[in-house]
């Protein structure tokens, strides 16, 4: 009896996979046509093949239709498709991020606030949502709530993430502005950086250099990297890391010179720390997934890539590598589905076709 149950269950799974596979093939053709039409900005033509082959259970199709309707200026329809995609993949940040476009275009601020909150339920440290939500509160003069959102960003990016937020943060906290000397030195260094004169940009910070000043070390790390002085860049970024060990900003920074030197093991250490501080960080998770994949540790790679694909189910880099990780860990049926999804995203993709050929 138990055996029969297993056989029946196996058959159902097999049939379901095959049926999904056939559906994927059909959709792949529709996607291909839609990309060709989008390229020439003919959004109605891009929408048509997808609506002809519409399957309301396809996350990918709803996501794409959400985008195309937004591009065609049809925000209501766009919202509907995005919302269906959100329902199909409730843990996806990608569909919710897409939904922001038509909601914002339709000026539905209350709805927008709700979308950001939903994203933060999945990833409480998601930078863009904290940033936008912070400014929604700020504009409503709800400074305490704004401060709460901004604080999450500042903890991860102590330099202030970007100049506008840096000023807002100083204003909200009533902290003293840096001295004129510091502001002038930084301004000068930005000018030189713009002119690609990185050595002068570094020199302009010489007089204000303080080994305990996070911002100047972070900036020198960046400028040294731009000048090709990777060893020196690492030194400054490391000082910044030591000064703010719970931030991810200098860790992403140090990964630039480390990549230039090819020291990938050290990059993986930094990425692990980033994931520790910001568990849903898709860049760091992807970096670790790719690192372990390259090391043939497919099980570890799978764990990190799964996180990325859960957040962004229809984004190329995560999806293709996740498909390969599935294949390498023996999950052939799943790999087949994923490779087909890649073909929807990138018709004729060589890597996906190679993967499918191996499975056959």
């Amino acid at each position: 009896m138990k055996k029969i149950k297993h056989i029946l269950l196996g058959s159902i799974i097999f049939m379901s996979i095959n049926s999904t596979f056939a559906q994927n093939l059909k959709l792949a053709g529709a996607f291909s046509k839609s990309y060709a039409a989008e390229k020439i900005k003919d959004y109605d033509a891009a929408i048509k093949p997808l609506t002809d082959a519409y399957d309301n259970t396809s996350y990918e199709e709803n996501l794409r239709l959400g985008w195309l309707f937004y591009k065609a200026g049809k925000n209501k329809e766009s919202m509907n498709y995005y919302q269906t995609a959100v329902k199909l993949m409730p843990y996806s940040v990608e569909a919710k991020t897409g939904l922001i476009y038509p909601v914002f275009a339709d000026n539905q601020i209350e709805e927008l606030e709700g979308v950001y909150k939903k994203i933060l339920e999945i990833d409480p440290l998601e930078i863009n949502s904290n940033y936008q939500l912070g400014y929604i509160y700020y504009n409503k003069k709800n400074y305490d709530l704004a401060k709460k959102q901004f604080e999450k960003i500042i903890n991860l990016y102590p330099s202030g993430y970007e100049p506008y937020l840096r000023d807002t943060w100083q204003q909200l906290n009533k902290t003293e502005k840096p001295s004129d000397k510091i502001i002038a030195a930084f301004a000068k260094s930005y000018d030189f950086e713009y002119k690609k004169d990185y050595l002068s940009a570094m020199n302009s910070l010489k007089d204000i250099y303080d080994p305990k000043y996070y911002d100047v070390n972070l900036r020198l790390g960046w400028l040294n990297y731009l000048a090709g002085l990777n060893k020196e860049a690492i030194k400054y970024y490391q000082i910044a890391i030591d000064l703010k060990p719970n931030s991810i900003e200098p860790r992403f920074g140090i990964n630039y010179p480390l990549t230039a030197l090819g020291n990938y093991d050290e990059i993986s250490k930094q990425n692990k720390k980033i994931v520790e501080l910001n568990p849903q960080n898709s860049y760091a998770n992807y970096g670790l997934g790719a690192y372990y994949y390259a090391k043939n540790d497919y099980t570890s790679a799978y764990q990190y890539l799964e996180k990325v694909v859960n957040l962004y189910p229809f984004s190329y880099d995560g999806l293709i590598l996740y498909a390969w990780a599935n294949y390498k860990t023996g999950k052939t049926a799943e790999a087949k589905l994923l490779f087909n999804k890649v073909l929807m995203l990138s018709p004729g993709d060589t890597s996906a076709l190679q993967g499918l050929a191996l499975i056959k």
């Binding site: 690609k196 990297y225 731009l226 000048a227 090709g228 002085l229 990777n230 060893k231 020196e232 860049a233 990964n255 630039y256 010179p257 990549t259 230039a260 030197l261 090819g262 020291n263 990938y264 093991d265 050290e266 990059i267 860049y283 970096g287 790719a290 690192y291 372990y292 994949y293 390259a294 090391k295 043939n296 880099d317 590598l321 390969w324 890597s351 190679q354 993967g355 191996l358």
Partner: protein, 496 residues
């Protein structure tokens, strides 16, 4: 598909920002080191790259790409030992790099570090494993059969009185020893356990027959002893030695070019002796010769247990090995001892008496320093020094190994010994003869006749000293062997 390589491209794209043209500088900085080393690498200017790369490393510029380029430069110049160090360092920065792994793998192969190559191959992905042929590695490494003979240069060693005391100063002693040929066979087997530990088993059979004859004529010149005149004693002993040995050696490559190699050697030696003695005694009083003869057989069984360990470290062109070995031997002698006559009965049978002789112990240490002149295995010189703590003596054994071509191996070695014999080559070579080797010259030639078969031959010239009478004699040894290897799809470009 080699997705690993693709990934490298992806992360480089993700993180690597194109940097602008940077002017070459006299003083080293990262940008200049990177630019210059990359240029030399692209130009395949290996000599300059080696000079520049080493200078940069000395100045504390150390990163993946520099090490990789430097490794490639050494590899292209066939300096595989030096290249291996660079690729190992490159892998410390980027442990998943298949290209460095592949280079390092061949560095190990070309320098004879097969065990290290095996361990490294465990980290290969499918593509690289298929490419290098390590995906289907047999756990059997090789089978070897060797044999040989040792001939003494002179069969006889007659000499006169060795008694120096006053009592026997006029005695005539004609002492003759005959050393017959030594025959020797060995069956060896090498295999791997999980590609991590290599084991070598060797079963050895050794046999030799020695005869020792002695005629002694005593002149009785001691005053106040009128009873005896000239006495003659004839003595002949024949010893037949057979020896069985089992040797087991494990080689375990560790991280950072360390290698540990424990070994065990068991020897069972069986010596059967036949001693025939006859004496003719002149009795002056009755002018009559009294003749008596006696025959005695005995067997001695000796079991030796040897434990040894060697720890090796490779540093660029150098290789250092420190080892210690301990031997413990249990010797048992069985004699047929005659019994006193009994009145009225048949002559009593001799009884077997087994005597356990004092055990033998030996404790020694050794240090080997090896240097590769060309940074590969083309010409390697080395020397092993032994300290025998038991006999407080030393042994020095310099050697040179050359590979004029990849298929030919030549080796010459010399050994000089100030005392008792030592256990050589991590207790693989045991000289448990009671006669010490004073010096030894050995010449070995190996030839790879096919991918699967190696032939080798060795000539050994030994200067020995006899243990009891301290006379010198020599051995000429001729050995030959065949090794059958490569039971897998192992790919070695130099074999093809």
């Amino acid at each position: 598909m080699d997705f690993g390589r693709k990934y490298r491209g992806i992360i480089i794209v993700l993180f690597f920002f194109t940097i602008g043209e940077i002017k070459a500088q006299d003083t080293l900085n990262t940008a200049f080191v990177e630019k210059q080393s990359y240029k030399l690498y692209l130009d395949k200017n290996w000599n300059e790259l080696i000079k520049f790369g080493n200078k940069a490393i000395k100045n504390d510029f150390d990163y993946y790409y520099l090490r990789f380029r430097l490794g490639t430069a050494y590899f292209e110049q066939k300096k595989y030992l030096l290249a291996s160090t660079q690729f190992q360092r490159a892998l410390k920065f980027y442990s998943g790099d298949n290209l460095s792994k592949e280079y390092l793998y061949y560095c190990y192969i070309y320098t004879g570090r097969y065990d290290d190559a095996r361990v490294l191959s465990k980290s290969f992905d499918n593509n690289l494993a298929q490419k290098t042929g390590t995906d289907k590695q047999s756990s059997l490494s090789f089978i070897q059969l060797e044999g040989g003979i040792k001939q003494s240069d002179k069969a006889n060693y007659p000499h006169l009185n060795s008694h120096n005391d006053d009592t026997h100063k006029n005695d005539l002693i004609n002492d003759t020893s005959i050393y017959k040929n030594v025959t020797y066979f060995q069956l060896g087997l090498g295999h791997y356990i999980k590609n991590r530990i290599s084991l070598f088993h060797a079963f050895t059979y050794f046999s030799q027959e020695n005869t020792h004859s002695k005629n002694e004529t005593f002149t009785n010149d001691i005053q106040n002893t009128p009873l005896f005149g000239n006495d003659t004693i004839k003595f002949k002993s024949t010893d037949k030695t057979t020896q069985f040995q089992y040797y087991l050696n494990a080689n375990i490559p560790l991280k950072n070019n360390w290698n540990i190699s424990p070994a065990f050697h068991f020897i069972h030696k069986n010596v059967s002796s036949q001693v025939d003695t006859s004496s003719a005694i002149k009795h002056p009083a009755i002018a009559e010769e009294s003749i008596s003869s006696n025959s005695k057989t005995s067997t001695s069984k000796e079991n030796y247990y040897i434990g040894s360990i060697s720890i090796q470290k490779n540093v660029n062109r150098f290789s250092f090995a420190f080892g210690s070995a301990m031997l413990y031997g249990i010797l048992k002698e069985t004699n047929l001892q005659p019994q006193p006559p009994r009145m009225g009965g048949p002559p009593p049978r001799p009884i077997t008496v087994t005597t356990t002789l004092p055990s033998v112990t030996l404790f020694q240490s050794n240090l080997t320093v090896e240097y590769s002149i060309l940074g590969n295995s083309r010409i390697v010189i080395g020397c092993t020094g032994y300290i025998n703590y038991t006999s407080k003596s030393t042994v020095l054994a310099p050697y040179i190994i050359a590979h004029p071509t990849y298929k030919i191996t030549l080796m010459a070695s010399y050994l000089t010994n100030s005392g008792d014999n030592v256990l050589e080559a991590n207790a693989y070579l045991i000289n448990n003869s009671t006669d010490n080797t004073v010096s030894r010259y050995a010449f070995t030639c190996g030839f790879q006749i096919s991918r699967h078969i190696d032939l080798y031959a060795q000539y050994v010239y030994e200067n020995k000293i006899e243990s009891k009478q301290s006379f010198k004699y020599n051995y000429n040894g001729f050995f030959a062997g065949i090794r059958i290897k490569n039971f897998n799809k192992f790919t070695n470009p130099k074999n093809n």
